[in-house]
């Protein structure tokens, strides 16, 4: 491919995150133009969920190991950003923090990065023992980590207000902020999965023993993905906190674990596109069912479903998708690339030409 336009080369290399980012941007712009405030909140929520799902994907998708504990990092991120960004008055009122946190209010972006970094650091520490375990044991052990942080944060009133809801987190997250972080997550996930580390980890996913024989240190490679993934789980928590304005430990427990994992599996855990598609699909289904719960005007009729049908509906839809399409909607494929298509046509063309030549037939 010598002499190719460098910009075009860049587009071809980063096609997957670029195309996804453009589609997400288009949706955001459309919603913004529609001026529908409720829809805008729904979309913001969906983008935040998508950040979490991409965070999960960075580890689960590349390592092929399911983990349940990742919401612990979301919990850590959410509370950390509150420690940084609550106003000094609110901090003195609700929490009992050390002076360096208590007497300043920090700007939001550095706080977001610092909070997510804290989550990543915790991942580095707890990941060290867990990454040595075999697949399913690692899944369950990570659940133990979530259990640990859940219990600890519930009983840590001086920093978290315990089981009570911590109010007054500054609201600054809207569609655009969530979209910005989502796009960042997409690009970093993509750069990682194409790096030598990502490729080594994917090799262990396909065949642990062969990868080990080829000199891949499985525990080390998994730990790298675990830490990057925890960073974005932390960012997801930060966004959630600054979107809703309140934080409660109970919101970062099995419900969120389940729904974010479900999004990943339904979309297809083996591709970045799958992660995004899953997050968007489940968010859309939840939203539709929620509207039905409130009642939908259809001519003279008001259609409505009983309260609680939303969760029930999500569970049923998920079960159906899993039963009929166990590898998820995308089944490991990325968004189709025009460059790939061209290469494939060219390849098929070459095959056909070869077949047309009588002297090139095999065995002669």
């Amino acid at each position: 491919m010598t002499g190719e336009n460098p910009l075009l080369a860049l587009v071809r290399t980063y096609w997957t995150p670029l195309a996804l980012a453009l589609i997400l941007l288009a949706v955001t712009v459309l919603v913004w133009l529609s001026g529908d405030g409720v829809l805008a909140r729904t979309v913001t929520d969906a983008w935040i969920r998508a950040v979490l799902v991409v965070g999960l994907y960075i580890f689960i998708g590349n390592a092929g190991v399911l983990v349940f504990g990742h919401i612990a990092f979301t919990l850590i991120g959410a509370y950390a950003t509150a420690w940084f960004t609550l106003s000094v008055f609110k901090k003195s009122f609700a929490l009992n923090l050390p002076a360096i946190l208590a007497s300043y209010q920090y700007p939001v972006l550095p706080s977001a990065i610092a909070s997510a970094t804290l989550a990543a650091l915790v991942a580095l520490i707890v990941g060290f023992p867990i990454m040595r375990l075999s697949g399913l044991a690692a899944s369950i052990a990570s659940l133990a980590v979530l259990g640990m942080f859940h219990t600890f944060y519930t009983n840590w009133p001086s920093w978290t207000m315990g089981a009570a809801t911590l109010p007054g987190v500054p609201l600054y997250v809207n569609m655009w902020v969530a979209l910005g972080w989502l796009v960042a997550a997409l690009f970093i996930a993509y750069v990682y999965q194409r790096s030598r580390f990502g490729l080594a980890l994917r090799a262990t996913r396909e065949d642990e023993i062969a990868a080990r024989a080829a000199g891949v240190d499985i525990a080390f490679q998994r730990l790298i993905a675990f830490v990057i993934s925890a960073f974005f789980m932390g960012i997801g928590g930060v966004l959630q906190a600054h979107f809703i304005g309140t934080i409660a430990v109970k919101n970062f427990w099995l419900g969120l674990t389940f729904i974010s994992l479900a999004m990943l599996i339904v979309g297809g855990q083996r591709s970045l596109t799958g992660a995004v598609v899953g997050a968007v699909t489940i968010s859309a289904i939840v939203e539709v069912l929620r509207r039905f719960e409130e009642g939908v005007q259809l001519g003279p009729l008001v259609l409505s479903v009983p309260l609680g049908a939303e969760e029930l509906g999500v569970a049923v839809v998920m079960l159906l998708i899993l039963i009929f399409r166990p590898s998820g909607i995308m089944a490991g494929r990325e968004i189709p690339s025009p460059f790939e298509a061209r290469r494939r046509t060219r390849f098929l063309e070459a095959l056909r030409q070869d077949a047309a030549k009588p002297d090139a037939a095999p065995g002669e």
Binding site: L66, I130, L133, S134, A137, G147, F258, A315, L322, P326
Partner: protein, 304 residues
């Protein structure tokens, strides 16, 4: 000394419950590599079946008011049917899929059952009493022992013995052990996959029913999320014990139970709410030292 004996009995009783739950999860895991998160909801459904379905704040006994033998039979039958139903409708279609898909299916089922219960019974916890007499302690040599704890321990030992007999002596038990050793080979040798798996689910459901009766008699509270802590600790117990080993599951269950009571007793009062942090931490430590769990199983490791 008396304090020690009382704590030891507490620990054994709690460990027994965890061991029964871990066993119900371990049986199915051994055969089809499914970690059944919905097992906790089997327990929860068994308990809710005791009362009249309504969203009223107070619970009215339904099956719970029946004579004891009939009550036990009805609840066991009900939970076994639920377990068999989930196997047939949800797990059989995805049986060939990756373990992660099986797991998330069980997660979805759990979500489904919990929300179903919220819809029918309402989301608030309900107080309920069965077998109130069993909470009375008996006094042996100056030690007060709640009758229920002794029954829990005795029932667990009995069930473990029965299960061992079943697995070693009956054709179905042998088929089940063969299936958890190497499922494909067992099928080639004439073990029927559907029947073995259904039998495993039936036994697992039976164990869940027993746990739900013992647990609800002990706590006297119904809640849609009541199965979750049990199943979380049981998961951890199966990992500590060594995944795929039934002995390991039982051992792990007792270790987690004993550790919970131990930390409850040993920790200073201020730290007691954080007891579970220590239990989980201890488990991570065990896993750090023995990544394959206490009882290592060859069948779980991939053959080259």
């Amino acid at each position: 000394m008396t304090g020690f004996v009382q704590n030891a009995i507490d620990a054994m009783a709690l460990g027994s419950l965890y061991a029964l739950v871990a066993l119900g999860i371990g049986l199915i895991f051994g055969i089809m590599r499914l970690i059944n998160f919905a097992h906790g909801d089997f327990i929860m459904l068994g308990a809710y079946a005791l009362i009249v379905p309504s969203s009223a704040a107070t619970a009215t006994l339904l099956i719970g008011a029946w004579p004891t033998p009939l009550l036990i039979f009805a609840i066991c039958l009900f939970v076994i049917l639920v377990a068999l139903g989930t196997e047939r409708l949800a797990f059989r279609p995805v049986r060939a899929a990756a373990p992660s898909v099986l797991l998330i299916t069980s997660f979805a089922l759990s979500f489904f059952f919990e929300n179903l219960v919220i819809m029918v019974y309402g989301g608030r916890p309900k107080a309920m009493n069965i077998w109130a007499g069993l909470a009375e302690p008996i006094i042996v040599a100056g030690i007060r022992i709640p009758m229920l704890q002794l029954i829990t321990i005795a029932v667990t030992i009995l069930l473990l013995l029965l299960l061992v007999l079943f697995l070693k002596r009956t054709p179905m038990g042998v088929a089940m052990r063969a299936a958890s050793e190497d499922f494909r080979m067992a099928r080639l040798l004439g073990v029927r996959a559907n029947r073995v798996i259904a039998a495993a689910f039936a036994i697992s459901g039976f164990l869940a029913a027993v746990v739900s009766l013992l647990y609800v008699a002990q706590t006297g509270v119904l809640a849609y999320h009541m199965g979750v802590p049990l199943v979380l600790f049981a998961f951890v117990a199966t990992v500590v014990g060594g995944m795929g080993s039934l002995t390991g599951a039982v051992l792990g269950g007792f270790i987690v139970g004993v550790a919970s009571v131990f930390f409850q007793v040993v920790l200073p009062i201020d730290w007691r709410p954080n007891r579970d942090v220590f239990v989980y931490g201890m488990i991570l430590l065990i896993l750090l030292l023995r990544p394959s769990g206490l009882v290592k199983v060859r069948a779980v490791e991939e053959r080259v």
